[in-house]
């Protein structure tokens, strides 16, 4: 098993790009996938150089959903900017908000009440489940099976209902605020989550029957888009993409925040590095998230759900960085403050951007059909990449 630091010291392990040879030689075909294409999960634009059906080069073009969020944040206060981050990785919106709150709290040295910490972790894990469910359904659609989509959304709606009761919306919640969470848990929360756990434990086995052990699916995924551990680190991959390539990178374990260090859960590592390994990481992560929720749901401590904070937050002059583990990998928030009410500069380190950069490496030498499977296994959210 590799640790990121060990690999970085040995740069010789980074393999050259396969496929190789002259690019755009005679008989090569250049085709565009996107920006409007069902398998790009949004508005990604890929320029692919093909020789027959073999991929020689994949060049992602970004910016079709660049909403200048980082620039926008500079004119919003430290309370306001958090709501825009829900719209970046909208499938992990709780976790995005969480990362920003941690950064602001670090600057102001706010102590978050324990109840709020537990609520945050519960929400994070429910978000991770909802995100992985959607990924599972979409991956099924990408490789040609429509059924998983309907199965995944059936369980996802249960989580959406739980969010709606407590947070008020289904998708972009903006529930976390500096100092805690915006409102207390709904009285039905615990009962609803128990119902969800009971149902999802049965259904996740059904998911396995549908895809995991499906021989057609295995043939599409196994040995496709192989990414070695050294390459995963050199491209800056995080999350399930890196963990599928045998890299230890779970922020929840390496740099625990909130109550994660008190919880019993495993960091899921697979050694294959192919699409199937990345698939298995997410499937096992769903069970881990379920176990985290089960550990916490009856242990929510009494007390305040929000620390007392000033109405206007002013971060002391300086630079602040915090990181959280979203459903896609490491999400980092870097704030430069000049001591005013708004940040001087904000930079988000989004997991999708780095994971996408490995796409070219993985797809070279493969077939064009494999490209869709690889993109599905990367679980890209395009507004998270473009920001």
């Amino acid at each position: 098993m590799y640790r990121q630091t060990e690999i970085l010291q040995d740069a010789t392990q980074v393999s050259p790009l396969n496929g190789g040879g002259d690019l755009e030689g005679a008989g090569d075909l250049i085709i565009n996938v996107g920006p409007q294409h069902p398998s790009t999960h949004g508005v990604l634009h890929l320029v692919i150089t093909l020789n027959g059906e073999t991929i020689k080069k994949v060049e992602p073009h970004l910016g079709y959903i660049h909403r200048s969020i980082e620039k926008m944040c500079e004119s919003l206060t430290f309370r306001q900017f958090i709501y825009v981050t829900s719209k970046m990785d909208y499938l992990s919106s709780h976790i995005n908000n969480h990362g920003c709150c941690l950064c602001v709290e670090k600057g102001l040295q706010i102590e978050v009440p324990e109840r709020a910490q537990v609520i945050r972790v519960l929400m994070d894990e429910l978000t991770r489940l909802a995100s992985h469910q959607l990924w599972w359904g979409a991956l099924g659609m990408d490789v040609g099976a429509l059924t998983p989509f309907f199965h995944a959304f059936r369980e996802r709606e249960l989580i959406n209902d739980i969010f709606e009761e407590t947070c008020g919306t289904r998708l972009t919640m903006n529930y976390m605020v500096p100092g805690g969470v915006m409102a207390d848990l709904h009285p039905n929360f615990q009962r609803r989550v128990h119902e969800f756990i009971k149902q999802f434990k049965l259904k996740i086995d059904e998911y396995d029957e549908l895809l995991t052990d499906n021989i057609i699916f295995k043939n599409r995924m196994q040995g496709v888009g192989v990414l070695s551990a050294a390459d995963a680190v050199s491209y800056g991959c995080t999350g399930p993409v890196a963990r599928g390539s045998n890299v230890v990178c779970d922020i929840r374990k390496l740099y625990p925040y909130e109550v994660y260090n008190k919880l019993q859960f495993d960091e899921v590592i697979e050694t294959g590095g192919d699409c199937y390994a990345r698939y298995m990481v997410r499937m096992k992560e769903m069970r881990q998230s379920l176990s985290i929720i089960e550990q916490l749901i009856d242990q929510v401590p009494e007390g305040e759900f929000q620390a007392k904070t000033k109405a206007v937050l002013k971060l002391p002059k300086g630079e602040y960085y915090s990181r959280v583990e979203t459903a896609r990998g490491e999400f980092g928030v870097y704030i430069v403050s000049e001591g005013g009410t708004t940040p001087y500069r904000i930079k988000f380190r989004s997991p999708g951007f780095s994971n996408l950069s490995a796409l070219d490496h993985m797809a070279r030498g493969g077939k064009i059909g494999d490209l869709i499977a690889i993109m599905g296994s990367l679980d890209l959210v395009i507004p998270d990449i473009d920001r």
Partner: protein, 183 residues
């Protein structure tokens, strides 16, 4: 005298009358109305999701809300086969020409639903941004606007039903606009 029976209630709003005769029945209607009725019940949407609203659009298509009950389930990946484009998400400057081209590639009659605050007006990205188009109607004409960030699936369903009503009324976008000008 023939018994005239409006069958709107039994045939999903079919625009015509049934005249009972001893050998069965005769159905009278205007051809335009029948065409619009058929058209409104088989709207094929284009798969066009740019951001968050696309997830709610997927929820609308999935099991709980199931938009196939109203005839929208044949989502097409190519604009040449689509009737209605649901703009699900923010349109930024770089995407605007692409949206225009997609709209131009669609065959007439074509309809546009602007889903969510971003597609309606720029929404949360109205202020302080340099790259967001402040409403998709700066690029292509829009038939129905849906409020929300993102709108609930029920809201999208309601918008699509509104669009059906609009088509059944038999007037084009331009005719409705002119009528509103007179009023």
């Amino acid at each position: 005298m023939d018994e005239v029976k409006n069958i709107q209630t039994i045939a999903g709003g079919f625009p015509g009358d049934v005249h009972q005769t001893p050998t069965g029945g005769v159905l009278t209607s205007r051809l335009d109305d029948v065409i619009n009725w058929a058209r409104s019940n088989s709207l094929w949407p284009l798969v066009f999701g740019t951001s968050c609203c696309a997830i709610e659009m997927m929820s609308t298509a999935a099991a709980k809300y199931d938009w196939s009950r109203f005839g929208f389930e044949v989502a097409r990946a190519t604009p040449r086969q689509a009737d209605v484009i649901i703009i699900a998400g923010t349109i930024v400057n770089k995407m605007a020409p692409v949206l225009k081209r997609l709209y131009d590639q669609m065959a007439d009659p074509k309809y546009v639903v602007a889903m969510g605050a971003c597609a309606t007006s720029g929404g949360p990205f109205f202020y302080n941004t340099y790259s967001v188009v402040k409403g998709a109607d700066h690029v292509i004409p829009v038939d129905v606007y849906v409020a929300g960030c993102p709108p609930r699936p029920e809201a999208l369903l309601h918008a699509m039903i509104q669009l059906q009503e609009k088509i059944k009324s038999g007037m084009t976008r331009e005719q409705i606009r002119d009528e509103m000008k007179v009023a």
